[in-house]
Symmetry: C2
Subunit: 321 residues, 2 copies
Amino acid sequence: MSLSEFDLIRTYFSRATGVRADVTLGIGDDCALLNVPAGRCLAVSIDTLVEGRHFLPTVAPDALGHKALAVNLSDLAAMGAEPAWVTLAITLPAPDTAWLRAFVDGFARLAAQHNVQLVGGDTTRGPLSITVQAHGFVDPAFALRRSGGAVGDRLFVSGTVGDAGLALRRMRDNAKIEAEDSYLLARLDRPTPRVALGRLLLGCATAAIDVSDGLAADLRHLCQASGAGARIDLARLPVSPAVAAACGRGEWHYALAGGDDYELLFSVGADQADKVLAACAAAGEAVQEIGCLVDEEGIALVYPDGHVSKEIPDGFDHFRT
Amino acid sequence: MSLSEFDLIRTYFSRATGVRADVTLGIGDDCALLNVPAGRCLAVSIDTLVEGRHFLPTVAPDALGHKALAVNLSDLAAMGAEPAWVTLAITLPAPDTAWLRAFVDGFARLAAQHNVQLVGGDTTRGPLSITVQAHGFVDPAFALRRSGGAVGDRLFVSGTVGDAGLALRRMRDNAKIEAEDSYLLARLDRPTPRVALGRLLLGCATAAIDVSDGLAADLRHLCQASGAGARIDLARLPVSPAVAAACGRGEWHYALAGGDDYELLFSVGADQADKVLAACAAAGEAVQEIGCLVDEEGIALVYPDGHVSKEIPDGFDHFRT
């Protein structure tokens, strides 16, 4: 484990967040020592963000800190897990205290919101890259899996889809930043992990996944794991005005394959749907029914004019050429 | 989470290793779901290896796979933890099936030796970099910390020190590879995590650390955490013939600050030392007494000619200029 930079991270971080009672030993020894509550599983997810692939070199460091944690909390949310601890391995081209302080600010602020403690990490020198592992707790009997969906279940998605993909397109086009773009940019840079929604869905949803690769690609993952197909009513997709305008121009790929949405896509038994909608409304969680699971392979897209197509844009895949 | 490359990793890996009963859900969903045995802590450690910093571009991929896991298992060993699960985040410049297969071979072979299951990961495209988090179990009442040493404790180190540092020097010098170098290179490329030794030391050692930054630097960490100084008898350092020759030329920095040794440095109460030595001998674990903890700040090096110096070479620090 290298030293000085990680000491900085620890210092900034510990100022911004608390200390959990379930941490026997945090940063500073060869390992952290952690306690999982009796009767709960440990849920873990690890993700890497690489400069030029997952974020542009121009990204604000506090936004990057936020996002590096958010994408992992989103995975915990998709299992219905309660976040607890995080480890951070960061590779930096050169020591830059101001950059690192801002990065940790963004990271620590989101961590504090979710009562997450940084318990370990590593700093190395090299091309900018951030790997985060998030750790949470969940009752294994109720954990939301991708595989629990059944034909007839109704499909829901949280928030709005396509904003981050459209923001990235506009940034790459160097389009003038309009008022609506600041909303899109915030969706790209500071996604909101749907942690409370995931926990609310425990025992209600039959299957869930977080939408990171694009709605269509992640729906395909859920369908394959559940052994079902899906039918999606495109007119019902929850979209922001900017993405709605794109859809109106026939550019459905932002909403369906934009990636980086970090919303939850989940299925609910038809007889439970009203109950789940009411619970979400009561909790202030925006969710929208978009279709259902069907007994026919693939994903059928029902366009607003009524025509149906199984041709869907592909999601985000780092290794696709 | 990206797809195709990680599917390859999973396929190769699952052929090489078993499935643990404490894994409720492994790779393939948003999170893995894992069960820590009652009464045990979860011990975690995360480390990144970056090309050009931690390994040369010429390294054999199976050696790299071995080492990426070994350095993390070494951290578990230093706490006396029993390895259980591992996650792997790998960034690759381009898809290369043969390379990846060899990498996973090296990784999985070591994992199988320690009954470690791969439970999650991520693949991204970018400059070659590997981040591994290892997870193990330990009784928190007995876990080996850096901080438990006391004045009068005797200091031991396992195996030999300085081999990897000398190997790296010779590779950088493009020196002709002699017969003795193949031993040194193996020590650099395929370090042996001292997992069994760490577990044997539970309840015996007062403090422990793994020697990754060099003996002197890691001894300083142990001393600072324990609130003691140390006195080291250089004539007693366990070294291979090649490193002994370097020491004979006055080049003590390989043994003291070479880095990448992945041996265990530990302290034992003076009245327990004989018992620990006997237990190590019975278990076939090579350990050597090298000095003791003293009531005087810093590390005093006693040279074979009897002179004492507190000037010690620095260990490996990624962020030192």
